[in-house]
């Protein structure tokens, strides 16, 4: 018996030891993963460059590697003993996840020195102290580098907040209203009428409702299947702001730095979305359609009108259309997003991505000056053009207007004019909340779950509650 007791006692002690070791290991586990990298030495500066979206957009981050070589050459010439190592990182997730990753890393002092994200993040990340203010005026930032002086003047607005410049534009785009020329001709439109459509979209003589009626006619004539007359973006995204603005909506008051909602315009915008379904030009159960289906439909002559981004052109040519760009040019035309009000000019939404530099507190690095120099070298005409042409984004530099490789891209050079009448989303920290209520109720209105009036009232109620004194209701 004593032997058994002894063995049991030994086993009990052993179990206790194992439990204690496991417990300690479990407690230490987070610290092992949170350990991070050690500094690589006093003369080597590692600059992490984060962005998302690989594939045709990979140069956003990958340009940093070759820019670092140029920077090192400059540093050697200056007699500096610093070597810069750029570490690009392309996140494969969605924007929400990417922004969360950056915010959490910044709060724990481990943010990358350079992050490339939407310009609207400036307001939130600036207020949180994650990113550096780079200059107090456009002139000041332009004076700091030859490349920054080359950036198109109107793009600085998107990089500004509270009188400061916080970012350097990396790329921009437009969100045209595309139309299918082949299908329009099948409807009986002449070549001349088709060619004139972009200018009619621009000057307001072809409105959003003209588009709906044309699409309904195409359905009626059997040119397109019911529900395939007009396809808007199938998922959440900034594009829908254009429709609200097209009906006279305002969203930001710069003087008071407050967001604005205009009830009448909101109702009209929601009514338009519902009419798309009721006129049978958009499917009744459309929102949430998978992107691969959407791209296939719009790029292969199955939809008459569709609203998308310029960056999609490169994707369609590469991944969806037989014959690439040549087929696209044969079938597809593009212009401004038509206005909802006759004789009011068409617009487009631009959403520049910007290079942002993390503060010392957020990144744990004091090499912000080197990060700015690296960005400058990523912004050369040749490098930015390489990204623009490959990804279908519009140029951000004045020099690109006369740069042969940029001009060689027929699509980019023929869409650049859209930036003449573009809007940006506001750099306001609460814009995301504004947009959530706007979007949620737009879906309800389009689906017919709420009347446009009720959807607008509900959107305003939520904005009032969640935005408190940050919203002006008109």
């Amino acid at each position: 018996m004593q032997t058994i007791d002894f063995i049991l006692h030994k086993e009990e002690i052993m179990l206790k030891k194992i439990s204690t070791i496991l417990l300690v290991l479990l407690l230490l586990l987070p610290t092992v993963f949170a350990g991070g990298k050690k500094e690589e030495g006093p003369r080597t500066v590692t600059i992490n460059v984060w962005t998302r979206e690989g594939d045709t957009n990979h140069w956003r981050a990958d340009l940093a590697t070759e820019a670092a070589e140029d920077l090192n050459a400059q540093l050697i010439a200056e007699g500096s003993d610093i070597t810069v190592v750029a570490e690009p990182y392309i996140d494969g997730g969605d924007w929400g996840g990417f922004k969360k990753k950056y915010a959490l890393s910044a709060d724990s002092g481990k943010a990358p020195l350079i992050v490339i994200s939407g310009h609207e993040d400036i307001a939130t990340w600036g207020a949180a102290g994650y990113i550096e203010s780079l200059a107090s005026s456009v002139d000041e930032i332009k004076a700091s580098s030859e490349q920054f002086a080359d950036v198109k003047a109107n793009l600085w607005e998107s990089a500004s907040s509270k009188g400061q410049i916080w970012g350097i534009p990396q790329d921009t785009e437009a969100r045209p209203m595309y139309f299918n020329k082949t299908l329009l001709k099948q409807m009986g439109w002449s070549e001349k009428e088709v060619e004139a459509l972009p200018s009619k979209m621009a000057d307001g003589s072809f409105t959003l409702y003209d588009m709906l009626h044309t699409a309904a006619e195409a359905v009626e004539k059997g040119i397109v299947e019911p529900g395939y007359g007009y396809w808007h973006r199938p998922k959440k995204g900034g594009d829908f702001l254009q429709f609200y603005v097209a009906f006279g909506g305002e969203y930001y008051d710069a003087a008071s730095d407050k967001l604005v909602i205009n009830k009448e315009a909101l109702i009209k915008c929601y009514q338009f979305q519902r009419d798309c379904v009721e006129m049978d030009v958009t499917p009744s159960s459309y929102i949430g359609t998978e992107w691969n289906i959407w791209h296939d439909v719009v790029s292969n002559n199955k939809a008459l009108f569709f609203n998308g981004g310029t960056w999609m052109w490169a994707d369609w040519a590469k991944n969806y259309v037989e014959g690439g760009e040549a087929t696209l040019f044969k079938n597809i035309g593009y212009g401004y997003e038509p206005s909802g009000i006759r004789n009011v000019k068409g617009i487009t939404l631009s959403h520049p991505l910007v290079y942002l530099i993390s503060t010392e507190e957020a990144s744990g690095s004091s090499n912000q000056d080197l990060a700015e120099r690296l960005i400058s070298l990523m912004t050369t005409t040749e490098r930015n053009t390489r990204h623009a042409v490959e990804s279908g984004h519009l140029g951000i530099l004045d020099s690109q207007d006369s740069y042969a490789p940029y001009l060689a891209s027929k699509f980019l050079s023929s869409t650049g004019y859209l930036l003449d009448n573009n809007i940006f989303q506001p750099n306001h920290p609460m814009y995301g909340i504004w947009y959530d209520s706007f979007w949620d109720n737009l879906v309800s209105a389009e689906q017919g779950e709420k009347t446009p009036q009720k959807a607008a009232e509900d959107a305003i109620k939520v904005m009032k509650l969640e935005l408190e004194d940050q919203i002006i209701i008109k």
Binding site: G96, K99, D121, A128, Y130, K235, S284, I287, Q425, D436
Partner: protein, 291 residues
Amino acid sequence: MLPAAVLVVLYFFLPVILTIGISFTDMSSVTGFSNWKFNGISNYVKIFLHPDSLRIFTSTMFYVACTLCFFNVGMGLLVSVLAYHLPKKVGGFFKSLWLLPRITPAVVYVLMWTMIAADAPYGIINQHIFAPLGLPTSNLIPNNAMFFCILVNGYIGASFGMIIFSSAIESISKDIMTSSLVDGAGFFNRVRYIIIPQLRWPLLFVTTYQTLSLLTSFESIMLLTDGNFQTEVWALWSYHKALNNYYGNFQYGFGAALSGVLVVVGVVFAIIYLKFFKFGELVKEPLIDEM
């Protein structure tokens, strides 16, 4: 006991306390984790006054109740009872099939559903069933969104109950099962009077565990509809507010308050279940010691 106690405190109680603590602050992406302020119960007042609160709460209850009744408990019980009455190998095969949704990565699994429901010519149902019958085709998810959410979650959840119930049925004394047949009980009477009464403890466990699990699960809904078409459930609302705003301003304080409400609801459900299933009687010492 000590290691278990430390683990429970560290990984269960502390997160709840932290969440409740954060819910009394204005913490967001704008304040970061350093510049926040206590704002009392204003996040809870906001929830109370929010025009969407009642709708989202009702959707959540509907989603939890339907998934629980028809799949996580109902289907789990049905599959385990039917499989028990089939030859062992055949029953085992069907039970293995039900495990497939659980072992398939969520993103792939939900993508399969979206392609099943997509409009013709891309969707399986529309292209191969509706179109040949001359029925109108459309993406089936938006108009039946909650139905699909329940289906998608249910097919994953049913396997959990199935495993628990199957092993519980297997452990019912063979003498009782056989004598029920001798006494002339048919299939339904055997299930009603022999099997289900023996499953009270596993039923309590699966119902309670799965209720709490469904209240806080949202990943497949997020992947399927992202809360559109009236499918925003409370946990997804909390996630959207606290951690996944499209434009990146995360409302940690408000999101934590939404989670706080969920903790309270979960506790209330747990207490109701413990009373309803007479938990006290189930854990009573047996009158006769087993040999």
